[in-house]
Amino acid sequence: MSLWRQVSRGLHVLSNRTAADQEVADEVQHYLDEATAVHVARGLSPGEARRAARLEMGNATVVREQVRDYGWESAVGTLWTDVRFAGRMLRKNPVFTLVVVLVISLGSGAVTTIFSAMNALLLRPLPGLADPARLVALQPTRPDGTVLQQGSYATYAYFRDHTHTLDGVAAWGRVSLTIASGGEGTAVMGSMVSGNYFDVLGVRPALGRFSAPDENRTPSSHPVIVFSHAFWKTRLGADRSAIGRTVTVNGHPFTVIGVAPNDFRGIYTGIQVDAWVPLMMQPLLRPRSDLTNSSWLWLFGRLPNGVTDSATQQELTALSQSRARDTGSLTASGTFGSIRVSSLTGLPNGEGGPMLGFMSLLLGAAGLVLLIAGVNVAAMLSARSLERGREMAVRAALGAGRLRLLRQLLTEILLLFLIGAVGGVIFAHVATDALERLPLPPNVPLSFELSPDFRVLVFALCVSLLTGLIFGLAPALKGARHDITSRLRADSPGSGTRRRLMSHTLIVGQLALSLVLLVAAGLFTRALVRGQQVDPGFDPAGVATASLEPEAWGYNESRSRAFYRDLRARVEALPGVTGVSFTGRLPLTNGSSFEDIEVAGATDVLVHFAKVGVDYFSVLRLPILQGRAFQPSDDERGPRVAVVNETLARRVWPDGDAIGRTFRFLGKPTTVVGIARDAKYATLNEATPPFAYFPISQEWQPAQTLLVRTASPPEQLGRAIQHEMLSIDPALPRPRVTTFRQASSIVLLPQRLAAIVTGVLGVVGLLLASVGLYGVMAYSANRRTREIGVRIALGAQPSNVLGLMVRDGMRLAALGILIGLALAAAATRLAAGFLFNVSPLDFVTFAGMSVVLLSVALLATYLPARRAAAVDPLSALRAE
């Protein structure tokens, strides 16, 4: 009750300060009146009585102030006065304010941008879910500790029916969908989901309904589809009557039953899902997957209140073991030791770790910029506190206590940092927009929403205020120093070496930190260049690609085969095309397939493999060293054959007689017909694995990537290829045709991103540091005008003076570079994993960046030095 009174009365007073003051004044006045009345009653004249009453009370104003100062709201009032005063001081010096705010905005903006991206990718709970903290991902884990990302439908069903520690278990799988409602189809990212998927997530439909659990019992029975809000708006014209309409999904009629809420786009942040269909529709939509036993589903559940991860983990692990006993056998994909229960994040399971490492690296780089900005601001503030020495001394002389002055100065500084934080958030908003628009590899279905949210705002504010406290406290303390007489007397500000030492330290610090950034940017750029120069073992230039998914168009196997035959013939006939082939997996896209092969008389070998079409090797110019490449007769009717790489041939048949030998792949005997040169397969820095190629017509896979070698630039083929496809089947979605280089650019994505981000940060840091250096040099040139005048008057040449000043600046720069090199050498080791074979201590980068910094520093010293050297000795001496 009394706390309530404290708060409400305080707020009341704050909201109406004048009325509250008046009430206090009235009460004091009444007190005086009564006292006067008593004196009159004792026989004094009214005048004397009033005088007596006043004497008794003392100073009425002091009494009023005393009463008024009571309560927390008066502290708020003082703070408000301070803030208003600070605002006035900052307005009085707009250039200073603008520059400081800009510098803070740059620093805080850099950190906020990276944090904003980090927040969106790693920290932010998934949008649109109810109580996301209680959602957990369930991941089967092999006995050796490898986390299998996905589980089978059988696993899901068993957990769903037996768990007591979860409020619900749901499952979903990815599916490519082609949506058509008459005319050309649209390819969208879809999810096949269990009946309780939306329930467990706690998502409510924006329109219509979601599929009911009983629509998810019998395979192929309920062709219903739910669209994302975005799809409904752009493709269905935001039409409410779309509910109940029939659309064609992968060639089958489906009924639209609902629209998801605006912010819900599936479970993974980077993959924006546009349509959800019941899991039980899988035989129609993804006919080649084995619904029950193959592991293609992501599982998650909702923890009830008071149940911990570990309790669930124990239960599910026990369940999976008892299920293994029940079924008696364990399929290869069903072998797992335990179930890992971890909170459901917006990242595919297991990608959080590396991503966090990478983002922390970038955050660290941005932190350096903030540090530079902070140091820069500290230098400006302490220069200004000297300028304001007189003002402070006058205020101290008028009775302001040291604490009062300190509070006032800190309020001013924190206000600057607060405005800087706002600037930083605006800056981050612009920068994340730019980041979102960075071209991503076309075959990566990623799109991100990185812009700052409330959490980022709080972060920016806290970081900025903390920086303000750290870098503002020293200048504020200095400003509030209480040696009135000396400061009132001293005419020229800031004599003495202490001040010079301080500003020099700050400059050296800035230069050192910006060198660290420059070195990082240089290393990432070198890594990027190095990566682009890595010989992949084949010729990726002049190849156009398009990834095709006939299953998503409702094609069965024979129709797909016919389609690919037809497409090959048509594209081969296009002008400029010199070769056409297909592959089940595009090389250099970070992914790989692998399987054990059985070799008679030897242990099994884990082999990475790709299924490829005829002419694959000639289209990619990947040389066959022995034997032959695939030919049209290697089809489903012919004997099973394989081409192996040198590493596999050497490993299994070290005598060099691999051609003609057989091994078993997926249980089927396969004959080696050729040896291909070793190449890069998944990434550019992999160790060459044993690798095998199989004819895709013998190991059929409907999803294939078209490869076209052309004599003309591959970019120009897009339209023609699209035209050929649509003339085969006008209902197909328009394929995205890109060059091989674009399609495989994901292998260098981390380097590219890091190079861009650290490059921008490095330039900002260098700019801040050089402006700082310029400021210090200009200030010292100004202060030494008289000394320089004397020197020139005594016969020094302007070039001597120039040399003197430049030497001073260069000494600072050299010290900064030395410290920066040492710091960089310590820091770049953290990035070693992203650098391809570029050494974290790469000499070229370290030397080159030192030269860059030195040249910029030279410029920043030369300009003020030149002005100083041009001083007219007469006027310089007269000025005193």
């Binding site: 009394s2 009174r5 404290q6 009365r9 009444h30 007190y31 009564e34 006292a35 005393q66 009571y70």
Partner: protein
């Protein structure tokens, strides 16, 4: 001449205000005068401390305040003891009595 006055003992002002108000609602000057009269001029109340004490006690929920006419037709802020104030007065009185008797015993033992 007036008798010499004594400053209030630290911390007793609140108790004296509560005690005075337990008889009837009163305004600031009334309370001050009552304390002086009953203490026969031993205690003289500083108006600043008194008015600040009202703020404090009111915030703590021990007093309620209200502007009313006085008998001589002036507008004054009248303070009333709340239920919590009454309880607080009891607590403080007991505590005070306990202390005073302890101090008295000590002084007597000394003598």
């Amino acid at each position: 001449m007036d008798e010499p006055t004594t400053d209030l003992i630290q911390g007793t002002l609140d108790m004296l205000i509560l005690k005075t108000l337990s008889l009837e609602p009163m305004h600031g000057f009334g309370i001050s005068r009552r304390i002086e009269q009953i203490s026969r001029g031993v205690f003289k109340v500083n108006p600043g401390s008194l008015l600040t004490a009202f703020q404090r006690l009111e915030r703590a929920g021990l007093l309620d305040a209200e502007w009313r006419q006085t008998e001589n037709a002036r507008r004054a802020k009248f303070y009333t003891l709340t239920r919590a104030g009454r309880k607080q007065l009891e607590v403080e009185t007991t505590e005070w009595t306990r202390r005073v008797s302890a101090v008295t015993r000590l002084l007597k033992a000394e003598g």
